[in-house]
């Protein structure tokens, strides 16, 4: 662990507004709502169909959960084994405690090659640490080669989905971005480009081909790392990743430590569950695997940067650690009714949706406004848990993190136990919860309150002041009945009143 580390891991500076505020804009943007509804509903229906094809889905899901849990329990052992295998295969392993350290290592490796350009395979880990920006600051240009990432990069935009980073854009918007921006980054868009998918894809292909052939350094992440063989695995749909992994002379892979699996055989489970959950395909069109270096074939230098950045701390939490099982399939985003309406940007992180709501506040801590609000960005409907191929009980972790926000408690940061204070801004709520608990612990008081409400019911407004305004601004309140049930029960059934 780096000695100079202070404060929180740095991925997107958490100056982002709290979730409800960030979501408000998105909810009122009809184009965004339309794009998201269309995209998520299409993929969700396809996923359901692809999953239903397998009669043993429940067993695959359970197997995935067990493999991940077992690996996490003995993470250190598997990582050391991985380091050994990668080294034996001709690769070099680097350990990065946080984003800064990882960025420093990668920038150093690129500079050592004398190059000032790199091509990138779509990777969540490098986004998490803000690698492109860090390289830019060192005078190195990183080109994204995944179609959706390219759209985001050209549009000076932020990704809003794990798998389809430009999900918030429609074809018309993409055509405009290509027309205006491609020329500034390399080969311009063809004259008269329209918004048909084939033409857009062709424009991207021509633009990217130039970069693949020129690049001497490739940067990737990985979906899995096999400890026993030192093999890294990337699955993708477009084939651009395969170009980046094989054409350059130097390959640098930045991978979260939780991506290790013990054996080659373990892949069998995930190579079935991941594609069906993410793109609703039976198999990924491209599955690339590489082990160290091989003479006369592929990159001659291979570096693996193992990234912690809050993962070991997350592992220390008994309830929250299950988030590290995530294989980033994005199925939970596609079924989430909150994500569908709020969009990915509202989550203030490269990890949006349900998984983002539990991962970011664990990796970054719950101190910032956005991270303290993320555990509440869910109605706890449970749709995410139902689809998750590694059975992460996202609602359980959300409630657990809510507890951390409102009650504080002991947690682990940078390997040290820290006692968190309750977050600010929950004092009124806490008082209300205590008062409600008191009333509910005293049935007589509850009854008095109910009777009072019934007697004054004609005087009660249908709209509310204070925090209740959020409710009555868009929905009518129910009318209070003339008589609460318990009074009716006593009147008609003459039950002994245990409450008074």
């Amino acid at each position: 662990m780096s000695g100079t580390f202070i404060g929180m891991p740095v991925f997107p500076p958490p100056t982002h507004p709290a979730f409800p505020k960030a979501a408000r804009e998105a909810v009122r943007n009809p184009t965004l709502r339309g794009n998201l509804r269309h995209a998520t509903h299409t993929i969700r229906a396809k996923r359901a169909k692809a999953v239903a094809e397998l009669s043993d889905w429940d067993r695959l899901r359970e197997a995935g959960r067990l493999i991940k849990d077992h690996t996490l329990r003995h993470l250190e052992r598997h990582l050391l084994r991985l380091e050994e295998s990668v080294t034996a295969a001709g690769g070099t392993v680097h350990w990065a405690a946080d984003a800064d350290e990882a960025n420093r290592i990668v920038a150093g490796l690129v500079k050592a090659t004398g190059e000032s350009e790199v091509v990138k395979v779509k990777s969540m880990a490098t986004q998490e640490i803000g690698l492109n920006e860090a390289l830019e600051a060192e005078g190195i240009r990183a080109y994204e080669t995944d179609l959706a990432e390219l759209i985001v990069q050209l549009g000076k935009d932020r990704p809003s989905h794990i798998l389809v980073p430009a999900i918030h854009r429609n074809r018309g918007e993409i055509r405009d971005i290509f027309r205006e921006e491609m020329g500034r980054w390399g080969r311009p868009a063809p004259e008269g480009l329209t918004d048909t998918p084939a033409e857009l894809a062709e424009a991207a292909r021509l633009h990217l081909r130039e970069k693949f052939l020129r690049a001497k350094v490739g940067i990737s992440g990985a979906n899995f790392m096999v400890a026993e063989t030192g093999t890294l695995v990337v699955v993708e749909s477009e084939g651009n990743g395969r170009m980046c992994l094989t054409l350059p002379e130097t390959l640098i892979s930045v991978v979260g430590i939780e991506k290790v699996v013990p054996t080659w055989r373990d892949l069998e489970v995930f190579l079935q569950t991941l594609p069906r959950s993410s793109t609703a395909e039976r198999m990924n069109p491209y599955t690339s695997m590489w082990t160290g270096t091989t003479d006369e074939d592929g990159p001659s230098a291979f570096h693996l940067v193992l990234l912690d950045n809050g993962r070991t701390d997350t592992l220390a939490d008994q309830v929250g650690r299950q988030a590290l099982r995530c294989i980033r399939c994005s199925a939970c985003l596609n079924v989430c009714p909150v994500y569908e309406r709020a969009g990915g940007h509202a989550y203030g992180s490269v990890y949006p949706g349900p998984i983002g709501a539990i991962l970011s506040p664990q990796l970054r801590g719950t101190e910032s406004e956005i991270d303290a609000s993320l555990p509440y960005a869910s109605s706890l409907c449970g749709a995410c848990y139902e689809v998750c191929p590694v059975a992460i009980d996202i609602p359980e972790v959300l409630v657990h993190l809510r507890e951390r926000v409102v009650e504080g408690g002991v947690t682990v940061r940078q390997g040290n136990k820290v006692v968190l204070k309750p977050a600010k801004g929950h004092a009124a709520e806490r008082a209300a919860m205590r008062a409600a608990r008191w009333t509910f612990s005293h049935p007589g008081a509850l009854r008095t309150g109910q009777r009072l409400a019934s007697r004054t019911r004609r005087l009660q407004p249908r709209t509310l002041p204070g925090p209740g305004k959020a409710w009555s601004g868009t929905r009518d309140l129910p009318a209070v009945p003339a008589e609460p049930f318990r009074d009716w029960w006593q009147r008609t059934h003459g039950g002994k009143d245990g409450a008074e």
Binding site: V399, E403, L446
Partner: protein, 253 residues
């Protein structure tokens, strides 16, 4: 058979008609219903908002009140899921915090014996035709905690299909959350309202007279959205439909 009715604090205070319907329905089916007067709240709002330590005394109180009964029946999927799924979890957490087994032991019996109403009818009493009649078009919204928390499956639908005169119409996007989610409706009111509006628009597209569900909290949210959007539909709790003996002649009159 004698059962305890756990009505829930929301129903007791705001929806006594649902409580009366449950009593009428169960009595008609030969079940003796008791309403323990010292019951209050299961603690779900506390627990789900992050106040687990405030929810614990309420769970203990629940167990004091209901611990003696052979079966506890509740007309709420979410409060049912709280007692059955989350009480054991609370017990487990207390254990992992080094507080021993007491809480788990106190809560286990009530967790085991709590049934959501439709589940009790189908699984325990073994009936799907409860002798109701309700001459209206109805669309059914399966609430999240009933659907995914308790796994109610098609039990409510089977009960509704056996009601005389009732025409059941399919709700588009039925399994999507209505956006209530307890304190979520307050903390994320914009997203919650957007979800509610979509739910109501889908319901409206069915042309049904009534939207039915097995949880009044969700119905409060959906119903409040319906009146605000001036959609001419009524939210009705499933217990009130199953208790009904309304005939077409009465409707006409």
């Amino acid at each position: 058979m004698r059962v305890a009715l756990f009505l829930t604090c929301v129903n007791d205070t705001l929806y006594p008609d649902t409580g009366r319907a449950v009593v009428k329905l169960l009595t008609r089916l030969g079940v003796e219903v008791d309403f323990p007067m010292s019951q209050t709240c299961c603690g779900q709002a506390h627990y789900n908002t992050g106040y687990r330590h405030e929810a614990e005394p309420l769970a203990r109180h629940f167990s004091d009140v209901f611990g003696e009964y052979e079966a506890i029946v509740t007309p709420s999927g979410s409060c049912g899921a709280m007692v059955r799924e989350l009480y054991p979890r609370m017990g487990g957490r207390a254990r992992s915090e080094g507080r021993g087994d007491t809480l788990a032991r106190v809560l286990a019996p009530v967790a085991d014996r709590t049934y959501e109403l439709t589940e009790f009818l189908v699984d325990v009493l073994g009936v799907t035709d409860v002798g109701a009649s309700y001459p209206h078009t109805v669309t059914y919204h399966p609430t999240c905690h009933g659907l995914r928390g308790l796994g109610l499956g098609d039990r409510p639908r089977r009960l509704l299909e056996a009601v005389k005169g009732l025409e059941l119409v399919e709700l588009p996007g039925a399994e999507e959350c209505c956006g209530f989610g307890g304190t979520f409706a307050l903390k994320n009111s914009d997203v919650s309202a957007a979800m509610g509006t979509d739910k109501v628009r889908n319901a409206e597209s069915t042309g049904a007279e009534v939207l039915c569900a097995a949880d009044n909290s969700c119905l409060m949210h959906i119903g409040g959205t319906m009146t605000r959007l001036a959609v001419g539909m009524r939210p009705v709790h499933i217990a009130e439909i199953l208790a009904s003996t309304e005939t077409r002649a009465e409707t006409a009159a």
